[in-house]
Symmetry: C2
């Protein structure tokens, strides 16, 4: 059984960066952009659609999501994407030890790989500063963008897993990257691998 | 400002033991039983009452708690205990660097000390095995005892802090003592001190 680290993260917490640094330290691959490309190829869907609809529900809450692209009797494009995404993550985990960022990999691989499930978070001020540095100013205040992203990501997680996102019990390790710092986070995750 | 480690923990997760081992490693005091004794002395209440009603709501849910010992216009004994407990924890944190187990110390000291907020949890099978080893068999199945303790502890936390217990965001570090092991937990906490 391969040893897999899954990293779930709040938007702007640096979970992706911590994942990449940990992978370099351990000499194993980190799947994030490459995973997205694999899923796009397998599904025939655009990368932008996979990036957005493979981790987030639509803006506008329950109603917008219920009537968006789900037909009354069939799969929505988002449901179809979920099935391909799930299959791609299971295949990856069978092939090698690696780090997988986001995309409900912790839930998908539970019981199917030797997992270390990590959740990275930080307070909203730290994350707001980081997203402005990284992605620039937007039309909306960074705090509002973060709250929107958090809500849509946790809704997506809930929709496909029926498990609450960000509850300590669901992870082996949860770290506040703001108070602990990226380097220490990498040290701790690598030490537990 | 003293450096304080607060350890919140699920019943049976070994959070208390991990706290004591970390304190020995760091050469600082760990307040658990001694804190309880201080609070009992300050309040004039029995140690058994402090042990139980300083961390748990009553069995029987909302109704049992609403009409138990709270007068319509005044403080209940549990409310009075809360005020003494809060004051005792604030005093302790002013005097020295230390580890404090449970009793909402993470919430009480937030912004008032240089805090490392830790939450220790484990899956229910691991905890059930542990409480049977430690406290023996009870009339009720260990899983039922754990669910009851978890519920009453989180209700207490919610009642006095208005914050949800066990949400990753509220801690610097959350650890699954079952998958990570006590020694590694101690290593990680001590390394962040």
């Amino acid at each position: 059984m391969n040893r897999i680290i899954t990293i779930s993260r709040e938007f702007g917490s640096g979970g992706r960066t911590i994942g990449k640094l940990t992978a370099e330290r351990l000499g194993i691959p980190c799947y994030d952009q490459e995973l997205l490309e694999k899923i796009a190829e397998e599904s025939g869907l655009a990368k932008e659609f996979v990036a957005e609809r493979g981790e987030y529900t639509l803006r506008g809450g329950w109603l917008a999501n219920a009537f968006s692209d789900r037909s009354m009797n069939g799969l929505s494009m988002q449901d179809y994407l979920w099935t391909i995404q799930r299959r791609t993550i299971l295949d990856l985990a069978e092939q090698q030890s690696c780090i997988i960022i986001g995309r409900c990999a912790d839930y998908i691989l539970d019981g199917k790989a030797d997992l270390l499930k990590v959740f990275i978070h930080a307070d909203i001020e730290t994350r707001a500063k980081r997203i402005v540095e990284k992605y620039g100013e937007g039309v909306e205040a960074p705090e509002k963008r973060l709250r929107d992203k958090d809500l849509r990501r946790s809704s997506y997680y809930r929709l496909y897993t029926d498990v609450e996102w960000g509850i300590a019990k669901n992870y082996d390790l949860c770290l506040d990257s703001g108070t602990i710092g990226f380097d220490r986070c990498v040290d701790i995750i690598a030490s537990l691998y």
